[in-house]
């Protein structure tokens, strides 16, 4: 992208729409070259935050810095930031080539440079043959790539992606996610993605900020937010989680299903233990630590694996074992102390 690496710094951004706090005191640091994802349910403020970064929305308070420059008051036209819109927002009256060239032509780049840059982007995104088509002659995946090319041709310091996969079918989406990740690594620019799809966030991101009600609940690498959620919301939003409330005691936590030894003691005295269904191991005999005896209440076939719903509980275990379980079977569970996370509250 541009030669100089510019970090994006979001400081104390607030935005209200009437009574609704769309963005509530959000601060984030996105180093140059990072693939950063804003993840959250609809209405959590992630798109508003993205639009504020793009300059399409002005914050009520707070600052946005790109490199050392304060761009808070800059209109969208002055920011080296480009967006891939959820609807793609391609210009329907222009060809693919003209769409991609738009950002260069509007800034009166010399024709020769425009042609070079546009052709290169079209090539990178596999659109060489599509240059003279119009958007309504393209498939969903092609439109998305045109939208990407149109933004990337400007070599922005930050590329913003507003749910760019939501219009694609599941199979294509999985493929595009990997391609997007590769593209970002190849070009080395800062990408900020907005999505409500936790799998997508985990696949593509260097870091994820999980948002809810306008606030950032937790930010970290995919491993951090998935393995070490801090709150129940984050634990449940990023995939399935068994949640057991209890009181902290010496060396562990007393829950409804018994005492569980913990490796890392939390700073709080009450809490909820979270454990992912796929982390619970099934044993034939009582394990040494954190063994729980349970009875299978229900077996759910999921294709590649089974979900077992157990009593006491409800505890959910995900297993890909070849051993078939039946409703009513008694099994031992091992909840490894190092994999138990105590959530605050």
């Amino acid at each position: 992208m541009s030669d100089e690496k510019k970090d994006l710094s979001i400081r104390g951004i607030n935005k209200r729409f009437g009574e609704v706090r769309a963005v509530d005191d959000v601060s984030l640091e996105v180093p140059a070259g990072e693939f950063f994802t804003l993840l959250g349910p609809s209405g959590c403020g992630k798109t508003t935050l993205l639009r504020i970064i793009a300059g399409l929305e002005m914050p009520d308070s707070g600052k946005i810095l790109l490199g050392s420059e304060d761009i808070t008051t800059f209109p969208a036209t002055r920011r080296q930031v480009n967006t891939v819109f959820q609807s793609y927002a391609l210009f329907p009256h222009l060809t693919v080539y003209e769409n991609v060239a738009f950002g260069l032509r509007s800034r009166k780049f010399p024709a020769k440079e425009i042609d070079q840059r546009v052709s290169r982007r079209l090539e990178i995104l596999g659109l060489e043959e599509m240059g003279q088509r119009r958007p309504d002659q393209l498939s969903g995946g092609q439109k998305q790539r045109v939208a990407l090319a149109r933004a990337l041709v400007n070599e922005p310091d930050v590329l913003l992606l507003d749910e760019p996969m939501s219009a694609l079918d599941a199979k294509l989406r999985a493929q595009v996610q990997v391609e997007l990740r590769r593209l970002q690594q190849k070009l080395g620019g800062t990408f900020i993605l907005v999505t409500h799809d936790q799998d997508e966030a985990l696949i593509v991101s260097d870091r994820i900020a999980v948002m809810r009600d306008g606030r950032v609940m937790q930010a970290g690498t995919p491993e951090e937010v998935y393995d070490l959620p801090e709150t129940q919301f984050v634990a449940e939003f990023l995939g399935a989680a068994n949640l057991l409330s209890g009181h902290i005691k010496e060396g562990g936590i007393e829950t409804d299903i018994g005492f569980l030894k913990l490796e890392k003691m939390p700073a709080w005295s009450k809490g909820t233990v979270a454990i992912r269904p796929e982390w619970i191991r099934i044993r034939d005999q009582q394990p040494e630590t954190n063994g729980i005896q349970a009875r299978i209440r229900e077996v759910i076939y999921r294709g590649t694996d089974f979900d077992l719903w157990l009593d006491p509980g409800p505890i959910r275990v995900r297993t890909n074992t070849y051993k078939r379980f039946k409703t009513g079977d008694k099994i031992w569970l091992e909840l490894a102390p190092e994999e138990l996370v105590v959530l605050n509250g």
């Binding site: 793009a54 300059g55 399409l56 209109p75 969208a76 036209t77 930031v81 480009n82 967006t83 819109f85 609807s87 927002a89 391609l90 210009f91 329907p92 009256h93 738009f102 950002g103 509007s106 800034r107 149109r150 933004a151 400007n154």
Partner: protein
Amino acid sequence: MNRSHPLITALAMCTMGFLYLPLLAVAVFSVNATKYGLVWRGFTLNWYVKLFSNELILNAAWNTLVLAVISTIIATILGTILAIGMDRFPWSGGTNTTLDLILHLPVVIPDIILAASLVIAFGLLRLVFSIFEPGLINMIIGHITFQVAFVALVVRSRLVSLGSDVEEAARDLFASTPYLLWRVTLPLLLPGIVAGGMLAFTLSLDDFVISFFTAGPDSVTLPLYIFAAVRRGVTPQIHALSTLVLLITIVMVVGTERLTRRSAKK
């Protein structure tokens, strides 16, 4: 789809007949080779030929065309600007509702009221500027006043259906306001602008009331000529003239309809 009762279908057919039979009759009599009476005496295009050798009618046709073209061009430009201004400027909710109402009013206000108020307005202006004597200029201004609202409404519905996404994308891609308008907004609005203009043209072509109140002795238009002629007795020439005006109107309306439907689909 529900199959409707035969009676309802019959009623609908009757209504259509009620609407179109008189028009059809005018068209039929315009090619009837008899000057008086309602008897069919054979096909002729004689009345049309005579029409085009009638100095008065040709003059009225010319006036009508000049009036319609000039007023339509100005009204289309003003209406488009009005629509863009109303839709793209961040008015507060209350202001927006008021503007909406103001825009719809000229559409529903009876022409006669508008005409009467124009007479008063021009009367006052005449005290200061002599160009506001009854005549073509007054008629053009009068036509523009009611055309603008129709153009703005058509263009605005196109603007609303376009949404703001594409314009935001253009801004995101560094487009200044003039560049945005010229390269994105106006090209995308074009079907709406043309449809609005065609509607305005049709309205001007057919207008009688406003023209009647604002016309001078030298600015007789076709509707005014037909009105005057009919009072002296309906001649087949008038039938021919009416049929021509009707045909032009139909072509314009169908064209408008097609354009708006195509833009709605996009």
